[in-house]
Structure formats: C-alpha cells, structure tokens
Symmetry: C2
Subunit: 246 residues, 2 copies
C-alpha cells in the first residue's frame, strides 16, 4: 500500500507521500514515490504514485525517455504546453503500461499491475493545477469543492483533512495537517511507512519552495506524533458529556 496526498491552497500546492513498498508484510522496502521536475522561471511539475511499483517506475522512466542515451533524452513533461497536456500524457503512459503487462499475462494478469498517479504543478501564465490519474488513463482535476486528492490507503487520514482544511491556510499549517493525517495512517496500517517526502510548490515561483524527506528521527514529526494523541484527548474531553438520563 501507499499513502499520498496532494492539496491545493490559495498560495500553491502541498504534496506528501510515504515511501514504503511491500510484497507481503515480510518483504518491505523504501522507494521514492514522489518525483519532481522544474524549468526555473517557467514550470514546476510533480508526480506521486501508488500501486504496482514496476508500473509506476516504468511510467516515470518513459516520461524521462530513459530508453535513450542520456544525451538524446527529452523529458516530455518539460515540453507539454499546459498542465492538462501533462496529465493527458501521464494518463496515456500509465494506461498503456498497465494494459501491456496485463495483456502479456492473460487472465491471471488482470488487476495485478494497476496504479494511480497524482500530478501537480504550474506552467507560467497559467494557474497551479492538481490532477488524479486513474489506471484507465482518464483523470479528474481538483477544484475548491474538492481541493485535495489522496491515493493508496486514504481512509484513516481523511477525517482530519476534511475537518482541518482551509484554502487560505499557510503552507506551514498545511504541512502540519498532512503530518497529522500521515501519522494517523502510519499508526493504523503497516503498509504505509516512514520516511515521508514533502514538497511545497508556491504559486508563480517555478522551483520548490520547500522539499525534504521526513525521517522517524525528525524532531518536529515526533512532536506531532506524540502531541496529537494528547491534543485529541483534550479535544475529546472538551466536548459535552453524554448522560444516560433522557
């Protein structure tokens, strides 16, 4: 499993992903699921992936044209004229990769190679955009009615985002909100694991405002993880008490 969230704010985009992959609980590894590319002053594009790791790595390699010698490569993400075309391209590559592998493996390949992708970014002269790409290659775009997308293990960490999100919030608060959401998920599902990758894309900046890896030793994450339990209990006890009297 995996947990990734992409969130749209008035001031830009915030992305967080875990790094655990597993093939059974007895076989876990750390792999990056967040990738980003930039043309300073012109575009900033990020991708997060969930699902079959061979599928998603294949899509990323195709985007970067790793079949060619380094000198001959053109990253097509850096040439697409709009974010809509970026999403279309990623969707096409994802659907083709899954289809090819399933087709090759016949009936027993059905559903085994599936994956989903979040695409986020901005190209100069246009607004920041956030898309969720389905395994079939089609996609949806976030709006302020539904301003965030989650992929992978989405349920444990969803209630706090639904309650805490505000489009005007600061990047710092958005990072805190995502850390709480990830902490709830990490505590409930072994197949989501530290470290986390964090990327903050400020509107019209066209390079990462902030990009880092959050490990288990991160003092701020530790504060959130231990503090949230206490804060939740205080919140719980601040609510009016139930009474058995009607």
């Amino acid at each position: 499993m995996t947990y990734c969230v992409g969130m749209m704010l008035d001031r830009g985009l915030v992305l967080m992903s875990d790094t655990r992959t597993n093939s059974g609980v007895d076989n876990i590894s750390v792999f990056r699921k967040m990738y980003h590319w930039q043309v300073p002053g012109e575009r900033m594009i990020a991708i997060m992936t969930a699902g079959n790791l061979a599928t998603t790595q294949h899509v990323i390699s195709q985007l970067e044209e790793r079949t060619k010698a380094p000198a001959d490569r053109h990253n097509c993400l850096l040439e697409a004229p709009t974010m809509f075309q970026v999403a279309s391209l990623v969707g096409k590559l994802l659907a083709e990769t899954i289809h090819e592998r399933e087709h090759f493996n016949g009936e027993e390949g059905q559903g085994r190679f599936t994956a989903s992708i979040i695409v986020a970014g901005q190209i100069k002269g246009m607004e920041p955009r956030l898309f969720m790409i389905y395994p079939e290659g089609n996609f949806i775009e976030a709006s302020y009615d539904t301003p965030f997308f989650q992929i992978g293990e989405t349920k444990y960490g969803r209630p706090i985002i639904l309650r805490g999100y505000d489009r005007t919030m600061s990047f710092e608060d958005a990072v805190k909100l995502l850390m709480v959401s990830f902490d709830s998920t990490l505590k409930a599902n072994l197949s989501v694991g530290l470290p986390l990758d964090l990327l903050v894309i400020e509107k019209d900046r066209f390079e990462p405002l902030h990009a880092r890896r959050i490990t288990a030793a991160d003092p701020y994450f530790q504060q959130i993880s231990s503090g949230w339990g206490e804060a939740l209990k205080r919140a719980f006890y601040s609510l009016p008490d139930y009474s058995f009297e009607e």
Copy 2:
C-alpha cells in the same frame, strides 16, 4: 456497508451500530443490525451484524427458531452454557447460511452472501466476553491488548478510538467516543447512516443498563457532530507550528 463497534471496558460492554443498508447508492433502507436478548439475573447477549442482510437476518431467525410456531420456539442463545458456546453456535449458523447460498448459486454466488458478526454478553458466574465471528464460522475474542472490534467500514472511525480508548473509562465517555467515531465515518461514507443503535451492558447486571436509538434529531449527537470539528481544529492549532527553517 455498515459500521458497528463493540468495546470492552472494565465495567462492561458498549455496542453501537448504524442502520443503513444499501444496494447501490440509489437504493438505501433502514434496518436494525443490533439485536439483544436477556434472561434477567442470568444472562445478557447482544449481536451486531455486517454484510449481506438476507444472510444476517437468516442467522438471527435461526437463532430464534422462527421456522417453528411461536409456542414451540427455543432461543438457543438463551440455553448455551457459556459465551464461548454462544459464539460457536453463531459461527456455525453463519458459515452454514453463507455456504448454502453460495453453493446453490455456483461460481457466481462466490463472495456475494458474506457477512461478519460481533457477539457480546455475559452469563452469570463468568466474565463479560466479546467475540468477532468471521464468515467462515471461526472467531476471535477481545482481550485488553485489543479491546474493541469493528465490522463494516472500519477505517475512518478507527484512529480516534485508538487514541481515546481507556479500559477504565466511564460508560458515558465510551458512548461519547463511539459517537465521535461514528460521526467521522458518517461524514466520509454514504453507505453508513443514521439512526444509530446504542446498547450498554453493565457487568453483572444481566439486563441493558441503557439501550436507545440515536436519530439525526438527537440534540447530544448534534452537539458532538458540530462540536467535534471545532474541537479538532483547536487540537490542531494547539500543536507546535511547522517551520521551513531547518
């Protein structure tokens, strides 16, 4: 879908279930999923069900021997000498009901008639017990390492129970905790719906301490539902702020 929780406390057992059944989002109904039986002064037994409604209603009917004329019926739950035997009996009826229906429908019946059951209760001279019964008829029992069971849509409402549960808590606090857990689930999954059924089984009482239906108009539930969002926000803002400085 469904959401039911059974929780073991030092002072007894607390059970809550929703009442929504659906066959597609365009076909929803209200059905009771919580049942209880008592022999005053001797035993108090409760069951909550998730899964195929025809399956679970059939199990309940079998337990109450509804195939017979009312005068000839013996509720075998009221005759089993221990809670372990109650759980075994429910497991046997559940597995047989599912197996029979799947077998009758051949390959296309596989998995369509499945269900899970929580059994809770106490028989005089023994401790209160809490079991989760699988569709295969086998079952597990709660202990103070894992003091609650959830069936149905378990994920949205799990983090708050993990953080808020304490075996020494009052029944009133446990009801509040379950209401918060149900509220988070109701807000995230349309297939879990009001009203809720609540049952509190006090140790050595052998009749319900408290049993009622909580509707959308319930003033306490409304207070929890609206207050929890604000309390969560206060909890969130009480945590230390993230800083982009390393």
